[in-house]
């Protein structure tokens, strides 16, 4: 079954794209088929509870029903593998 991910950052185009490429690649390697789109932080409220995961590189606040993963480690490399594995386990779980 396809998993739906929304990648969000402040512009919806910059850091979220860099992160989306990495996550997509990692999910494919783990046999997870994903459908993804990118969004700005402001759009998340409207998308809440409609997808499997939010992967973010901006401050999005809290209180969402959809699980939120902070993807900054994917940009800095510090703890990158852990975050990628965490995303996979959330999608598989």
């Amino acid at each position: 079954m396809k998993k739906n991910i929304v990648f969000a950052c402040s512009s919806g185009i910059a850091t979220s794209t860099v992160v989306a490429e990495k996550v997509r690649e990692h999910c494919e390697q783990h046999g997870i088929d994903i459908d993804s789109r990118q969004a700005t932080v402001g759009e998340l409220t409207g998308l809440d509870d409609s997808v499997d995961l939010f992967v973010v590189t901006s401050d999005v606040g809290g209180g969402y029903k959809t699980p939120v993963v902070n993807a900054l480690p994917i940009l800095t490399g510090i703890g990158e593998q852990e975050v990628l594995d965490h995303i996979v386990s959330l999608l598989k779980g």
């Binding site: 932080v41 973010v56 401050d59 900054l72 800095t76």
Partner: protein, 155 residues
């Protein structure tokens, strides 16, 4: 053919003295405007963006920031980098309430979002390697300039 990203020598700063991020970004923006690379709204828009969507990141060894803004303020693609003498405070990209002491600023002046992506990707790939930032911080101005010219391509 791979084109090099435009980095002018006057936009590469080492031991930049600034008491806060506004002063650092002003000096960097001035290097752009002196070269005619950005229009007059650029600096204000950078500060505005930084207030609403901060770009401070805790990387290996040092805090960095990657300020960028709307392409409409940019005439010609360029990158400015500043290694600060003393760190300045930025807010954390993923937790705006948190502050980060930033030692290296990568200021992007790019006219198309696709170029933002490309250069952002390259900067992140570069600093993801442990030790690279430390090396950059210790470089002299001309060494840093050469290093960036060598490692960053515009496409």
């Amino acid at each position: 053919m791979t084109k090099k990203i435009m980095i002018s020598e006057n936009a590469v700063f080492t031991e930049l003295e600034a008491s806060d991020k506004e002063e650092a970004l002003k000096k960097m923006s001035e290097a752009f405007s002196k070269n005619g690379f950005v229009n007059e709204g650029y600096y204000a828009s950078i500060l505005d963006r930084e207030r609403n969507a901060p770009t401070g990141i805790e990387a290996y060894d040092y805090g960095i920031a990657i300020p960028h803004t709307d392409p409409k303020f940019v005439n010609k693609d360029s990158l400015s980098i500043a290694v600060l003498k003393e760190p300045v405070i930025f807010n954390n990209m993923v937790n705006a309430k948190e502050t980060i002491e930033v030692k290296v600023i990568f200021l992007l002046g790019l006219s198309e979002s696709t170029k933002h992506l490309n250069i952002l990707r390259q900067i992140m790939e570069l600093i993801k390697e442990q030790g690279v930032l430390k090396k950059m911080v210790e470089m002299r101005q001309n060494e840093l300039y050469d290093y960036l010219q060598e490692h960053l391509k515009s496409e």
